[in-house]
């Protein structure tokens, strides 16, 4: 496998996982950008554990998941039922604080970053294969869980909250519980993904965790469609991959391109490309075919 | 009865407002199905009907808030069914909404001046007239509107409409939620305004009092006009008596 293919596959998986991490809380209208801070916190922590304290990779990964979930849980105690804009600003504040703290911590390399993380397998090729295996295993697992969630009673409760909080409350939905559950789950996913993100490149740098990530994940989710998990799955490889085919000069305008696409989609097709109705229709078609066979 | 002597206006000449075959729907629900009514200058016309019969929808589509699906609305010789609300207000239609929609956190004076948004050059003259009719508002002009009583708010709402120097006043359910004695006041005020030359189209569930004050009426049932006539005719109609007068 070529190196560029390796990066394409791994970054696509990261984008899918992270877009899902934002998709989930957005089921209750929360844009939970704290997930990006979670990536950085868990990632740097895992890097520190492996590099300095010589932890095995899998322990560090598990700790990354756990720390993500823990932060998500503590924060969700306060903003489990907060309005959208409050959740957004808490996320951004976390990103800023995390960046400032990392910048000023010599133990994780400060502004220099952290280099030379070890291979997690015996050879560099083995390392790459194992990373891809773990990432796509995670995509399958998280995708399956989200799919189950979307079709569960909780998923319907979340949809009710998205449309009208007061109505949902009157139907007996515990808004805060559902919000908390989604926030914590998305922070767990983000924490683990952050660890893997660093191990893809075998390094951590502050430039990995800037606002361009907000742009990429938000464009992916809104262009793909925020009402199903399939939109993110489809759009993550397209939005990441298609610009790679253009010359570097155009690629450097990536954020402008994303911004323009995002605005155009919101103006013309506010629900994104893949809507719930679209998925439903495909489902019906598939089941008809099955009947014919 | 003295009241009957005042009911001299008769449907003659050119109607000030003419609604023809108006249909309005909200999604799949047809709120109005081909309604036609006429209001002549100097009249008080009342729309009576149960909740959900389409009275509020009719008034709000005349003003241009609710878009119509089919039919025409002619006001003062001009078609207005496609015009935006602010144009219609400028032209001389105003709506006194149900529930006395005043701006609660703004002062009485601000509320009145909002009514005169397109007519500020005549605001002093109009304020003087409005305060002449509603002295209580003059006393309270610097108070915040939410401190007013229900009846005072209804007066403010009517006064705000008058500030735009309207030719036609649409009044939606003025008596709802008011004490009976206040309701009498409100109808007295509407009759007085009518004598001053204002044309009024009123929607009302309190059919008896409204018909007593009005010249003519239309009965609306599930989006269609089922009966029309002078107020006297409607008051003595057995169907109206049974359905709306509780007799």
């Amino acid at each position: 496998m070529s190196l560029s293919m390796y990066y394409f596959l791994t970054i696509t998986a990261v984008n899918i996982l992270m877009t899902w991490a934002i998709y989930l809380p957005y089921r209750v209208a929360h844009l939970h950008f704290i997930t990006i801070a979670n990536m950085a916190i868990s990632g740097y922590l895992a890097g520190y554990l492996v590099m300095t304290l010589k932890f095995p990779f899998f322990w560090a990964l598990l700790i990354g998941f756990a720390v993500g979930g823990l932060i998500g849980y503590i924060v969700s105690l306060f903003i489990g039922d907060a309005p959208t804009f409050a959740v957004v600003i808490v996320g951004f504040t976390f990103i800023y604080i995390t960046r400032t703290v990392i910048e000023n911590l010599p133990a994780v390399g400060g502004t220099m970053g952290m280099f030379g993380l070890p291979n997690i397998a015996k050879t560099p090729a083995g390392h790459r294969n194992l990373i891809i295996l773990i990432l796509y295993g995670l995509v399958l697992l998280v995708g399956f869980l989200i799919h189950r969630f979307d079709n569960s009673r909780l998923g319907k409760a979340a949809s009710a909250i998205f449309v009208d909080k007061d109505l949902a409350t009157s139907l007996g939905v515990d808004i805060k519980k559902v919000g908390q559950l989604l926030q914590v789950f998305s922070c767990i996913v983000a924490g683990g993904t952050g660890v893997l993100y660093g191990f893809i490149y075998k390094s951590f740098h502050l430039d990995f965790f800037t606002f361009h990530l907000v742009g990429i994940f938000m464009t992916t989710i809104f262009v793909g469609g925020y009402s199903t998990l399939w939109g993110s799955l489809l759009m993550a490889p397209i939005l990441y991959g298609v610009p790679l085919m253009f010359p570097a000069e155009i690629q450097s305008w990536r954020m402008v391109i994303y911004g323009v696409i995002l605005i155009i989609i919101l103006v013309l097709k506010p629900e994104g490309f893949i809507t719930r109705k679209f998925v439903y229709n495909i489902g019906i078609r598939l089941s008809r075919k099955r009947e014919k066979i | 009865m003295a009241q009957n002597e005042t009911k001299t206006a008769s449907p003659s000449g050119v109607p000030l407002l003419k609604v023809e075959n108006l249909s309005v729907s909200y999604g799949h629900i047809n709120a109005l199905k081909g309604v036609s009514i006429e209001v002549f200058p100097g009249e008080i016309v009342v729309l009576i009907g149960a909740n959900g019969a389409g009275k509020t929808t009719l008034l709000s589509s005349i003003l241009g808030i609710t878009p119509s699906k089919a039919g025409t609305i002619t006001f003062d010789g001009q078609r207005i069914e496609k015009k935006p609300v602010d144009k219609n207000v400028r032209k001389g239609v105003c709506l006194v909404p149900e529930g006395r929609g005043v701006f609660a956190s703004m002062s009485v004076m601000d509320n009145l001046l909002l009514g005169a948004h397109h007519n500020l050059q005549n605001k002093d003259k109009n304020l003087e007239r409005v305060f002449g009719w509603f002295p209580i508002l003059n006393q309270r002009k610097n108070q915040v509107a939410k401190t007013l009583s229900g009846g005072e708010r209804q007066m403010l709402s009517i006064a705000r409409g008058l500030m735009s120097a309207p030719k036609l006043i649409l009044v939606d359910e003025p008596s709802i939620g008011l004490a009976p004695i206040v309701v009498n006041d409100i109808f007295t005020i509407l009759q007085m305004l009518n004598k001053e030359g204002y044309t009024i189209l009123l929607s009302e569930q309190n059919a008896y009092k409204a018909l007593k004050a009005a010249h003519r009426g239309y009965v609306l049932e599930t989006g269609t006009v089922t009966l029309t006539g002078t107020a006297q005719q409607l008051l003595s109609d057995p169907g109206v008596k049974a359905a709306y007068l509780g007799a």
Partner: protein
Amino acid sequence: MQVFIAQIINGLSLGSIYVLLATGFNLLLLVALIIHFSYPVVVVFSMYIVWVVLNATGNNLLLGILAGVLSSIVLNVVSAPIFQKVMKKRGEVDVNSTMVVSMGMGFIITDILSHSFNHGFPIAYPENLTGGAPLFRIGLISVQVGQVWSLAIGAVAVSAFFVLLYKTRAGRAFRAISEDPAGAKLVGIPIVRTGIQSYALSGIMGGMSAILIAMLLHSASPGLGDMLAHKVLAVSIVAGLGNLVGGLVVGLALGVIEALIQGYAAGSWSNAIAFVVMLIVILWKPKGLFGIKV
């Protein structure tokens, strides 16, 4: 004590900029019914326009200031139809989708700034705008001409805004829409046109802020917009979204807190401390200290 006084002056001048920006942001929220998250990013774009015009005209202050204010108005008004369209498509006012559109605008502007101006390096403003030597200096702390100006102009602008809001026809219409858009429409206030007036007015305030920030900071960088956007939204949330008086208090408070932290704490940590303070307040009261007014 001198450090304290100097930092209070610095803080108030910084705070007056936050107040201007938060007021413009809240005006758009209340009257145009959008969350223009990237409004401060648009302001930073105007700062770059000022810089370009100053460079091109040999530091002609008048032209620079004019260009800054005009570009801010134009950018704001031009974005109005996009926001209107998004809201219409949704059938109802959905502030969340306007926030996402605004963020998209922010990505575009920030990326353009980091590509097309000064190779993405921070830009510096000439002395005839920033005022040159400080008025007085105590140790590392100094009070600059730009700070005094921004405090004075900020105070005048905010007072003028409140006079406009409470004493004029347009202000009355603004308040009516912010209290009850449907009721305002009913009494005959043209909602769209009044909304566009609010875009223009917040554009004027943004343009003035652009000049004041340039005078105060002496420089700008592509990342400044995101930073300001974040702080302005935080100020508005801490105050209670749409609460103009609250924004006034919290904006000034944030400026003073930041300046005091800078005066007494190690430089690289000062930003983090301000953010932690904001975070605690937001987590403690997600609906703001003074209550939401929408």
